[in-house]
Symmetry: C2
Subunit: 222 residues, 2 copies
């Protein structure tokens, strides 16, 4: 199968980097084809605007979605966005590897969505949710947290992790047609021993060998 | 009172721009002091990394939170972040004016949080939630949506808007001690008539004249 891994962490020696490389190895060893997007290494610009496009629909008033629909028809996305769109269109499974910052993704990853997931090409015209463009594809969040697992339970002081991830699971993945696999969460790697980190990486490796046999989770319409 | 408005939209003729300027006018006319952060105009860089700091704790391994705690002690934030931190520390009420993109804030605003809300200076050391550094301050999301109001209700196809905003309300505002005022939402301004937009702006103006008499909303620990 074909897997795209989108990775967002500034430190090459981080647990996130280790999980990113572990995933590439595990998936390739299992015979899959892997493409990657290393946002910090690419110095990806997450700010969305007119520079997304080589085409212009209306020079007097910038309405991004209308420019996106126009660019979809005219092949008017700048090459770095077109390349990312092609990777998403190509894959059977998309994995995001990131540290949870402020209960969401780092800005460099949010901006990858703001710019790459364009109306017309990626969604719209009635093609959302059950009829989404990416119907048949799967998506999986692989993340690290600052705190320990108990902090992210329903009665933990941060509340339930899955609820916090719903804007990503429901609002981005399911909105564009992806089925959602259970997130891979490593809680508080900064406080783990080397042995614990090694075990977490082995667990991730092992899960990925059978990831295409997994059943998608229910996200709900909250 | 003192109000900071953080504004994120690329188009100066947008409804968001109109709401931003309406808020400045309404609040100043009511005798308040207003400071602003116009992220697109500032060309704010939302990518967090070593460039946040003039100081370095560990040149071999970049762990952002530890660098933040170090920078807090050494006055080691770059001037553009220090200036933003001072504005947040100064205000009694913080308003974010933005278009909802992918059920969250535009990347340029997410990165403002990733970089400005630093451990040590803005949170941490037990100072979170009820004991947060910004206890006594209020925060308010003012946003536009793409779709109509019915799409953002509990049984609407996107689900309940307040639930989607919880990572912002709970995970950023309450986490750092802010009380949360009810969001100001303009649904689908792109499909509004001029008269409807004028009415929406007048409603926002009117609300702001009494905003300091409002009671914060419950967000819940979801």
């Amino acid at each position: 199968m074909k897997i795209l891994i989108v990775y967002a962490h500034p430190e090459p020696k981080s647990m996130n980097a280790a999980m990113f490389h572990e995933a590439v190895e595990a998936l390739e060893a299992a015979g899959h084809e892997v493409k990657t997007t290393d946002l910090y290494a690419m110095r990806f610009n997450p700010v969305s605007g007119r520079h997304n496009f080589t085409t212009t629909l209306d020079p007097q008033f910038f309405k991004q979605q209308l420019e996106e629909v126009h660019a979809t028809k005219q092949n008017g996305f700048v090459p770095e966005l077109d390349a990312e769109q092609q990777k998403v269109e190509w894959c059977d499974l998309m994995i995001w590897q990131f540290p949870m910052w402020w209960f969401g993704v780092p800005a460099i990853l949010k901006g990858w969505v703001d710019r790459v997931f364009a109306m017309g090409r990626i969604y719209g015209g009635g093609h959302i949710y059950e009829t989404g463009v990416f119907n048949g594809k799967k998506a999986l969040l692989s993340l690290t947290t600052g705190g320990k697992e108990a902090d992210y339970l329903k009665n933990g002081f941060n509340g339930d992790l899955l609820s916090m991830l719903k804007p990503l699971h429901r609002g981005i993945f399911q909105f564009t047609g992806f089925s959602v696999l259970h997130p891979q969460v490593v809680y508080g790697p900064a406080r783990m021993s080397l042995a614990e980190r090694t075990e977490a990486l082995a667990g991730w490796h092992s899960r990925l060998q059978e990831v295409f046999n997994e059943t998608p989770i229910e996200v709900g319409t909250y």
